[in-house]
Symmetry: C3
Subunit: 152 residues, 3 copies
């Protein structure tokens, strides 16, 4: 496969793409875990699924399934903006060391967040991990606004 | 309108943009359907909406509305990552035939998933459609990690 | 910081990046507000958070927290597609005045929507703001499908 021009246009982009794609894969893993917990706890949200797996009484809520769903939901609130912010930020010629530090903090924060959520770790570990991952996102957003405002 | 340079940079990008934009339009359609089902079943989630449409007793849950919401929610879990993965993947000079096959599977899987969800089709049609659409996304993600890891 | 090539490739992109990044920052603000309302109303969704803030009885639902969550959820349904549509649309050489009008309507519609949701304004202000922000998104999506279909 030839070297894509996109990759060479930035020293920063490969680091972003690695972090972001691994986070998407991790999100897919949470979805698979949710499905497995549903099967294990026999707790389905659709009557047609419950019927296939034992009967209509299994169309019900479950604490562990809800925890998986909240983990996934928090992912959507945080990773999707990062996919956008990080991609644009990578093209704004940021300092490469600073940029990689931003991406690394998001990645580490989100990994710890998922582990803390699914393992029910004591508060405030999960909240601190959430904040750790949000700070570089806010930093990127503010830098983008500043950079763009200078070009309007 | 002149030919955008972006379009010509890849044989693959137009196919991705067509599939992805049609899926976004389909997601908008699910949102409209949800609103219509709310009006038809008189089931609103905000007191101010219920007051406007008959009274506070209509601020309530409804099975059909919940089904629309779950369809929409599943969309957000699956389409948003595809928008990111497919866009970046299109710039990584993939084999055009393979790339179009990836996009087509995502598109078909998601169309069948929506129809199966809203029409309450027997399990496991919906789950199979979900898996059909997720497999090419996972494939793109793994190819991206591999490609990027070679450039770090 | 040198002028990024990306910025110069389009007269439209800076306007999009400004609107979209400000909307992401506003979404982050809604998340912070949700957390503060949780602390103020003592209504947590995880037992470990409730234990840290007074006891297991505070793991409960609350109308005001639910309203914040719905505001955030509606954001995810509408802003994320806009981040994708607007970015691609900016590269399709649209009429600059029309493009900026699209972005401005999305921005204003979403600001009014958030204010109307959190302030419990009378219906149909919130719905009208939602529609105002969705129309330019649908317009961009249709223009993209048209443009791309001409290049397939």
């Amino acid at each position: 496969m030839p070297t894509p021009a996109l990759m060479l246009s930035s020293q920063v982009l490969p680091a972003f793409l690695l972090c972001s794609t691994l986070l998407v894969i991790k999100m897919y893993a949470v979805a698979v875990i949710t499905g497995q917990v549903r099967l294990w706890k026999k707790a389905f949200e659709n009557p047609e699924d419950a019927l296939r797996h034992g009967g209509p009484q299994y169309c019900r809520d479950d604490h562990d399934v809800d925890r998986c769903l909240r983990t996934h939901h928090n992912y959507m609130e945080t990773i999707y903006p990062f996919l956008f912010l990080g991609l644009v930020y990578s093209f704004l010629q940021p300092n490469p060391v600073m940029a990689r530090l931003h991406f690394l903090l998001v990645f580490l924060g989100r990994v710890v967040h998922t582990v803390a959520y699914l393992s029910k770790l004591h508060a405030p570990i999960r909240s601190l991990a959430y904040t750790l991952a949000q700070l570089p996102c806010i930093s990127m957003a503010l830098q983008m606004v500043w950079e763009v405002a200078c070009h309007l």
